[in-house]
């Protein structure tokens, strides 16, 4: 029951070959179930088309307003923390797109607390489908494409405007950054959901790391205190979503004086995050006791 897509990837790397086969089928099963549930929600959403159009646009606009705020700031200054508008746009676009992808796939995880409280999680437990896939696909919201679109547009603007000395490594860094970043954020969503097994009403804590993390990463690390930067580098490794890889692309130094090759760690960090999040999810699910109501 506690087998999850997240934990599966891990065992796959560490386990013996014959286990790999069994586990992979479990992973495929999870992905397939996710697809089916997501499709169902898509059709349900499309029953109210006006609302879908408005919420998709709203999703686009809610993040766009964040960027408008940055544009308004740049009405008054030429640089913020030593970074130009185009450089901040790169940070913003990368973080926004990565977060948008994670939010689209895993954003429903923060409803777990509610499911525990009202007892509907039990329904998911008796179905022959990985629970993680069911929770993640629950109320799958295509409107979240709005956020991805907005992030990608700002990223595009940054890439066109910036005068970067492109090398093959720097080119490869862009997709690597977006995918690893999305994976890191997705792991945060899963870990946050696991935490809700313990504290059902604390779903807002998760927002600090997801939405809050996204907001933090939109600005250059130079404006934050060293302790805060250390915290998001070594404790909750959000800095690997965009700060380190983007600063490599920009040819800038990271405030903590980390070596250059750190910029290539995001996939490793993402894997580690998934390992920890998977373990947390597993133990959360194992410890789950129904409210009985």
């Amino acid at each position: 029951m506690a087998e999850t897509a997240g934990a599966v990837e891990v065992t796959e790397a560490a386990g013996p070959p014959e286990v790999v086969f069994v586990e992979r089928s479990r992973l495929v099963e999870g992905v397939r179930a996710y697809g089916l549930i997501a499709t169902m929600w898509l059709r349900s959403t499309m029953a109210y088309r006006a609302s879908f159009a408005m919420t998709a646009f709203g999703n686009f606009a809610v993040t766009a307003f964040d960027f408008v705020a940055i544009l308004l700031m740049f009405q008054h200054v030429d640089a913020l923390g030593g970074y130009t508008l185009a450089e901040i746009a790169l940070l913003y676009g990368a973080s926004g797109t990565a977060f948008g992808l994670a939010d689209l796939v895993m954003g429903s995880m923060d409803r777990l607390g509610r499911r525990v409280r009202d007892g509907t999680l039990d329904t998911l437990l008796v179905r022959p489908v990985p629970v993680l896939a069911q929770v993640a696909a629950d109320r799958f919201a295509l409107r979240r494409m709005g956020r991805i679109t907005q992030g990608a547009l700002v990223l595009g603007y940054a890439l066109v405007t910036l005068d970067i000395g492109w090398t093959p490594l720097k080119v490869a860094m862009i997709p690597l950054m977006l995918l690893s970043g999305a994976a890191i954020f997705a792991a945060v969503f899963v870990a946050g959901a696991a935490f809700q097994f313990v504290a059902q009403d604390a779903s807002e804590v998760q927002n600090s790391f997801t939405y809050g993390g996204n907001t933090l990463l939109q600005y250059p690390p130079s404006i934050f205190s060293k302790d805060l930067v250390r915290g998001v580098t070594f404790v909750v490794p959000l800095a690997f979503v965009n700060w380190l890889p983007a600063l490599y692309v920009l040819g800038r130094d990271y405030p903590l004086g980390l070596p250059d090759w750190v910029a290539f760690l995001p996939p490793v960090v993402a894997g580690l995050c998934w390992l920890l999040a998977g373990l947390a999810w597993r133990s959360g699910l194992r410890a789950y006791r129904s409210t009985g109501s």
Binding site: G58, L72, L80, A199, A202, E204, V205
Partner: protein, 271 residues
């Protein structure tokens, strides 16, 4: 309104307060989130005011006070929506609202009373701690005079009524749209942007700034913030109250009008 009616709405308001006060873990989690966002925004403001001291007529401590005030009032004035309208929308969608309309209480005042109770709790439970933590970490420009604090509280109360009146209209839209998610989200956006939550409205350039400052949403944060920061005193304070009170009355009246149209013309959903 008789004494009984006043007592009734007072009870409803107390209920609204108690309802939110029940969820202590959620409140603690919310305080944590407000504090995190407060820190992130405060650092961006420090970077901005480092470059341009006196930007928008605020000095650095005032700008930082503005940030933490925004976090303190975010839930109180429900800038991103929430509080009651989801519940009312659901009652309209399912048709339960028909029962509400038969009750011997005024629908709008009933929800207003509950929302005022909620706001009072959010001011105490979600407002004070982030503000305290912010004042420990940053140098804030908090007034020493109790008079200013009192004036500020009045302004916050008016802001809550304006916010309620807007959200009530949002909820009523469900009579026509059935699913209020789209309208709710649009209003949440407008609330975030035009209340001054992202950036003080005094920093908005030209026409955008002029428009933003006269829209009702500025009552939610910009106006109370200016009262607390001592920007609105004497006649300025009277003007601020008149502005908020004017919007509150207008929007409440529009709400009643829309409600009477809705209840007359729209067939209630349900079995």
């Amino acid at each position: 309104m008789g004494v009984d009616a006043v007592r009734l709405y007072a009870v409803v308001a107390a209920g609204g307060f108690r309802r939110y006060a029940t969820y202590r873990t959620a409140t603690a989690a919310g305080v944590f989130t407000n504090t995190v966002f407060g820190f992130i925004m405060a650092y961006t403001y420090v970077a901005l005011w480092d470059e341009r001291p006196q930007l928008g007529g605020y000095d650095m401590p005032q700008a930082l006070t503005y940030v933490w005030l925004g976090q303190a009032l975010l839930m109180t004035c429900a800038m991103m929506g929430g509080g009651f309208e989801d519940e009312l929308i659901e009652r309209i969608r399912t048709g339960d609202v028909a029962v509400d309309l038969y009750r011997p209480v005024d629908l709008q005042l009933w929800w207003l009373a509950g929302d005022l109770g909620r706001a009072a709790f959010h001011l105490l439970g979600r407002g004070i701690v982030p503000m305290l933590l912010g004042s420990l970490a940053f140098d804030l420009a908090l007034p020493a005079s109790p008079g200013v604090w009192l004036a500020f509280l009045v302004s916050v109360a008016l802001g809550v009524v304006v916010s309620f009146a807007i959200r009530y209209l949002v909820a009523l839209s469900a009579f026509w749209l059935l699913d209020g998610a789209g309208v709710s989200q649009m209003t949440a956006l407008a609330g975030m942007f035009f209340s001054g939550m992202l950036l003080p409205l005094t920093l908005f350039p030209g026409v955008l700034g002029d428009v933003a400052r006269v829209l009702p949403w500025s009552s939610l944060l910009q106006v109370p913030a200016d009262v607390l920061l001592g920007k609105s005193t004497g006649w300025g304070l009277v003007e601020a109250y008149a502005f908020q009170g004017g919007w509150a009355l207008t929007l409440l009246l529009v709400g009643r009008l829309v409600q009477s149209v809705a209840t007359r013309r729209v067939v209630v959903q349900g079995g």
